[in-house]
Every structure is written in structure tokens, then in C-alpha cells.
Symmetry: C2
Subunit: 161 residues, 2 copies
DNA sequence: CTTCCTGCAAAAGTTTTGCATTAAC
DNA sequence: GTTAATGCAAAACTTTTGCAGGAAG
């Protein structure tokens, strides 16, 4: 089922002069089974036994090889997911309060319209080889209620969960 | 010219129980005069005399009051810009290699189409009060040439500039 | 046996915070 | 005078790196 995925990952890593070790296979499996990009703490907690520095280094290597990519959220740490051609083109629903992220797909015709328009724009500005990143920002159901409080930092919010 | 902006900023801060000090006015002016979101190092280097911790604290307060907002790039530090209703709705051209950012506006009809479609999507997923974030990712002219190199971290890239 | 990967510990970079001082109201 | 804002120094947190040991080819 994920055989093709592993073969692709393997060949991309070898192409970059690197090995597709058991650790890295674990990481790829983890991403393949997730419905959202994963943060490093989540990966560490997932019971792979991987150590922090190895996770960072492996993710950097996998990113270089084009197997995963780093995604941006409003959090102050990074999240990773499968590269677009492996995990499919999709976007993210991001809760602006608690940082929760979920994958979401938008209709194909909207994507097409968007692509055409943005390509034109980028070219006019001298940008090459353009892709886009489209996120939906809002409040998830949990947070919509308790929206309140002053001088609350994001870190405090996270640890309060 | 920026009088209205200052008045709005002032009233929003007071509404949050805070003062619109000279330092904060400087910050708002800085953002108003920029064609891209500013990073903390840039703000510190702009000659305002503000200290690092004050910049962070002021930006947090201004963000809470709805005067500025933090924007995400591929860099590992944050950038800030005026809130959408003060600085205008726009998007960002981001160079995936050097991290350079520039503001860009997309045609109004595309925005409208987008808004309608995304609102529907978000509602279906149980998200409330949604906005969107659309970035164009690519290579700026400077970087399009020298695209190369393995195991190069982003931090190294930045300091190499 | 050579090269890459891993873990540990330590460092670097960004952001937050405690406390005393200064400025705003 | 009371409350908020500032600067300084130190801490917290995320990410990167040096080095020694271990696994993969």
C-alpha cells in the first residue's frame, strides 16, 4: 500500500547520496498516516525511539531529498509533512488561537484559477518557479467559545492545553 | 497623512488598557513606511533605540490590540506588519531560498472568488471567523541563479548573505 | 574499511520573563 | 501616587552542531 511511497523516498535519498534507513522509513510512515503536518514534539512522542537531534537531522535530509517539506503555522516551532507530489496538494485549516492544524482540499477548479492568476503575478514581479501556499485561518470549535484573556502568550496557551 | 492611523492605533491600545507611547508610535510609523513585513533584527537596526525585550513586548501588545500582526515566512524568526484593516489586504512573495519577502496585491475579483469558496469550506469543517493567508513561494531573481548546494541549513544561508 | 547515521552533550538563535527604574496619566 | 512601559540580565525553548560510537554498504 505504501510500497510505492517507500520506493520513491528511497530513490530520492539515494539520489542525494543518502540511505533510507529504518529510522527514516519510520518517519515516512508516520507522515503518511497523519491527517496533518507533525511537529517535532509529536514525532518524539510517537514512540519511534528517535532522539531529538536525529529527528532534526533526518527531517533536514528528507527535506533536501524532496521527500518531506516544512510547513509554517503560527506556532513558534516547525511542522513537517510529505512533499506535495507524495502527499498530494492540499491546504491547511489553522486555528489562530490554539494552533491546531488540519489538512483540507479545495475544489480543483479553484486551484486552477488560482494557479493561473498567481503565476502571472509572480512573473511580473520577477519570481521564478512559483508555487502557492494557502491557509485558512480561524477559530476551531473548541476555541471559538473561550476566546478571551489579555497578555496571554502563545507559549502559555500551548502549555495550558 | 498617517494621523488617522495613529488615532486608530491609539484608540485600540487604550481599549486594551494600554498607552500609545512614543516608542509604540515609532513602531507603527516604521510599519506604515515599509513595503514588507519587518523582522525584529530589522526593527532593532532601524535606529529607533528600542531595546530587544521592549520590541518584543510592544509587538505582543500591539498584536493583542489588533494594530499589528505576526506573519509567517520560511525563516525561523517572526516578522510583523500592520493589521489587515490598517495596512490593507495583501499577500506575500516569498523567496524560498533567501527568505526575502515582498508585499503583493492580487486582483479584486480573484480575492472575492477565493473568499466565497474558502468561507464555504471552513464552515463545513466547523471553523469560525475565517480569513485566509495566501503566499507565493518561488525564487527571486538573485537566487534563481545560484540554486545549488547540499546540506545547507537556512541559518547558514542567512549568515552567508 | 569507508562512509553515513545515531546519540549525547553542548552551543547558537529566537523569544519570554523577573526585577528595579523611569515615564505616563 | 498609581499604573503601565522600559532596560537589563537571565531564563526558556527551538534548532543546530561537534564528536565518539555504531550501522550500512
Amino acid at each position: 500500500m505504501t510500497t510505492a511511497l517507500h520506493e520513491t523516498a528511497s530513490s530520492r535519498l539515494r539520489g542525494a547520496g543518502q540511505r533510507y534507513t529504518a529510522r527514516r522509513q519510520q518517519l515516512v510512515e508516520l507522515f503518511a498516516g497523519s491527517d496533518r503536518p507533525l511537529a517535532i514534539p509529536e514525532i518524539l512522542a510517537a514512540g519511534t525511539g528517535l532522539k531529538q537531534s536525529s529527528v532534526y537531522r533526518n527531517l533536514a535530509d528528507l527535506e533536501q531529498a524532496g521527500v518531506v517539506r516544512r510547513v509554517m503555522t503560527d506556532e513558534e516551532f516547525g511542522r513537517y509533512e510529505l512533499a506535495e507530489d507524495l502527499g498530494g496538494h492540499h491546504h491547511h485549516l489553522i486555528c489562530s488561537r490554539c494552533g491546531r492544524v488540519r489538512d483540507v482540499e479545495v475544489p480543483g477548479d479553484l486551484e486552477a484559477t488560482l494557479d493561473r492568476a498567481l503565476d502571472r503575478l509572480a512573473r511580473k514581479a520577477g519570481f521564478a518557479s512559483v508555487s502557492h501556499r494557502l491557509d485558512l485561518i480561524g477559530l476551531c470549535q473548541d476555541c471559538a467559545a473561550r476566546e478571551r484573556g489579555a497578555h496571554v502568550t502563545k507559549r502559555r496557551l500551548r502549555s495550558a492545553e
